[in-house]
């Protein structure tokens, strides 16, 4: 019943709905890319530098090696989305763990963890990510690691503050009085209520992750085995004038993807919000 109402509030927002549908479609295309496109995105299967809409089978044209751009875009969606999702998950897990430890136990542990979080917030994140990826060699794993490593403090702080405030809430105290075990309290009482702000933050993390992956690829630090949008922009930089479409399309893809993630996050926040402030009867 509540589910349906959150759901209804979510689909009641056109922007969020469009964003969600876009992401869903993108996800679907990304997952089915191997079946949709012939061959890998690296395969040089047509005339190089084909303009869009000039050859059937390569509707979006090709790059300087004759690689199909449409295939590249779809596989780029795979990279962007998987980096986005994995980095967000890694961020969530780290942030959750650190934030929960700090918020639940408090004291010196809290102080130490929050100082560490501050270090990571102060260091310029992209610079740190660049060095990390350079140190560990570019691969999807290291990119995800680098992004998560610089993004977790925001989540940790949020989780911590939610923990601190929720811990004082009466229903959490009630659960304690009823004898519910601490871990059950965390997972059944506290976390579900921290969900809404968490989701919004995570949507920001995901959008940032997608942009950071693109920036790393732009700096030449992308996974060399992964055809990503940032890579496509970087690879086609010299061709910006001769073949504008080669960098325009991946650029727009990043833009739309980030917008969609952001809209979905915002939509979720609004959908969850009324339940967070119950009873507006006064």
């Amino acid at each position: 019943m509540r589910d349906s109402s959150v759901w209804q509030r979510f689909i009641g927002q056109p922007a969020a709905l469009i964003g969600a549908l876009f992401l869903l479609l993108l996800g679907l295309l990304a997952v089915t890319a191997p079946w949709l496109c012939q061959g890998s995105p690296w395969e040089m299967n047509t005339t190089p530098m084909l303009a869009p809409f000039t050859q059937a089978g390569h509707w979006l044209g090709s790059d300087m090696l004759g690689r199909d751009l449409a295939t590249g875009l779809l596989y780029g969606a795979r990279v962007s989305l998987s980096v986005g999702v994995l980095a967000t998950l890694a961020t969530l897990l780290t942030g959750l763990l650190v934030g929960a430890l700090a918020g639940y136990f408090g004291g010196w542990l809290d102080a130490v963890l929050m100082r560490v979080a501050e270090f990571f917030q102060i260091i310029p994140q992209l610079v740190l990510a660049v060095i990390l990826v350079a140190v560990l060699e570019p691969s999807l794993g290291t990119i995800v690691l680098a992004i998560a490593l610089v993004a977790w403090p925001a989540v940790a702080r949020l989780v911590r503050s939610e923990f601190l405030s929720l811990r004082q809430r009466e229903f959490v105290q009630a659960a304690r009085v009823l004898g519910q075990a601490p871990l059950a309290i965390v997972f059944r009482q506290i976390l579900p209520n921290a969900l809404a702000p968490l989701l919004v933050t995570l949507s920001f993390v995901m959008a940032t992750a997608i942009l950071t992956e693109a920036a790393l690829a732009f700096l030449g630090l992308g996974d060399p085995d992964a055809m990503s949008w940032g890579y496509m922009i970087n690879a086609s930089r010299g061709m910006l004038r001769d073949a504008w479409w080669m960098s325009l399309m991946p650029g727009l893809a990043i833009l739309f993807c980030v917008l969609a993630v952001n809209r979905v996050g915002e939509g979720l926040r609004i959908a969850f919000e009324p339940a967070r402030r119950p009873g507006d009867s006064t």
């Binding site: 100082r115 560490v116 501050e118 270090f119 917030q121 102060i122 260091i123 310029p124 994140q125 992209l126 610079v127 740190l128 660049v130 060095i131 990390l132 350079a134 140190v135 959008a207 942009l211 693109a214 920036a215 732009f218 700096l219 940032g230 922009i233 930089r237 910006l240 004038r241 960098s247 650029g251 990043i254 833009l255 739309f256 993807c257 980030v258 917008l259 952001n262 809209r263």
Partner: protein, 330 residues
């Protein structure tokens, strides 16, 4: 008393933070594969092992890592950032030479993004009731800016404004060998600054708009805004003294936190626009494994960010009397 205490505590924390950043960056940088001595020798066209060994011992790379770290910390404690063998110059000289470029880029981007961001965000929030279209325009515009990869935007801006339209220069921070002075000099600098500054500003502008709008909307809901209206205050007074002032708190806090990210963004922009700033120096230092410069850059940026955080903390304290006051309760 409490003000001095507050400042002291903050300074202590800031120092601790900088120490942490130093240790962290030191370890990180030293983990990177690639040997600076070998690289330098190769660049100098010398490939005898003896010379490489000599370079390594000159740079202190033959010491165990903890000892190198201690040595480095000791150096920094004496305000000595070390020497760049690659550039044959003290690190501080290299950094200070680049500092004005970075400061002018980051400073102008910060001013533009925060001023316009706050103004537009507040405008959007205040228009929400009467002129929904304006709110929509600003919010969605900000969203577009947020989603646009800055490096991509920078590429497009160069092609449009400097190559096609020939309005603005494409690289560097000044016209070299033009011997300008006075206003012409300033104008030349400003013209060079426009594109890099805008490219860097947009993302943060979007964030400021988003944040200010949310904060203003929340401030508008506050009970004391009703009180202010019930007192018969003029709308302008209500907006500035009772809404924006309160909405500014989270914005100021954010401003402190995002400076590090501004420095990150500056790196990309400095590369695309050939802006001779610290970000690029660090990037080059990374590819040359010029550890001392890399660490010095980290340190300098951390000091900047921490210092700026200190300022925003003080600003918050000025805005909000509750912060730092004894027995503060909300």
């Amino acid at each position: 008393m409490s003000g001095v205490w507050f400042l002291g505590a903050r300074l202590g924390r800031a120092l601790l933070m900088i120490l942490g950043v130093l240790v962290l960056s030191f370890l990180l940088v030293r983990l990177a594969p690639g040997d600076p001595a070998q690289l330098m020798a190769g660049e100098a066209g010398v490939d005898d092992a003896q010379y490489i060994a000599k370079l390594r011992s000159e740079m202190g790379l033959d010491q165990p890592l903890p000892q190198q770290l201690l040595h480095y910390l000791g150096q920094v404690a004496h305000l000595d950032l070390g020497y760049s063998y690659r550039n044959q110059a003290p690190v501080w000289d290299l950094l200070s030479e680049r500092l004005p470029a970075t400061l002018s880029l980051m400073g102008s981007a910060f001013v533009i993004s925060s001023l316009f961001g706050v103004a537009l965000g507040a405008l959007a929030a205040l228009s929400r009731q009467r002129r929904r279209w304006l709110d929509g325009l600003i919010s969605n515009g900000a969203l577009l800016l947020y989603g646009t990869p800055p490096f991509w935007l920078a590429m497009l801006l160069i092609v449009l404004f400097s190559v096609k339209l020939d309005w603005l220069p494409a690289f560097g921070m000044q016209t070299v060998a033009a011997d300008l002075s006075g206003f012409a000099w300033l104008g030349d600098r400003l013209r060079h600054l426009v594109l890099p500054c805008l490219s860097l500003s947009f993302l943060f502008l979007a964030l400021y708009v988003h944040l200010t709008r949310a904060a203003t909307l929340e401030a508008l809901q506050q009970e004391h805004v009703y009180t202010a209206r019930a007192k018969g205050l003029a709308p302008s007074r209500i907006v500035f003294a009772h809404v924006l002032r309160n909405a500014l708190l989270p914005v100021v806090t954010f401003a402190g936190l995002q400076l590090g990210q501004l420095a990150s963004g500056a790196l990309l922009i400095e590369v695309v626009y050939s802006w001779p700033g610290i970000g690029r120096l660090m990037y080059d230092a990374l590819s040359q494994r010029d550890y001392s410069v890399l660490l010095g850059g980290f340190l300098l940026i951390s000091v900047l960010v921490v210092g700026f955080n200190l300022l925003t903390d003080l600003a918050c304290r000025l805005i909000d009397p509750r912060i730092g006051a004894e027995g503060a309760a909300r």
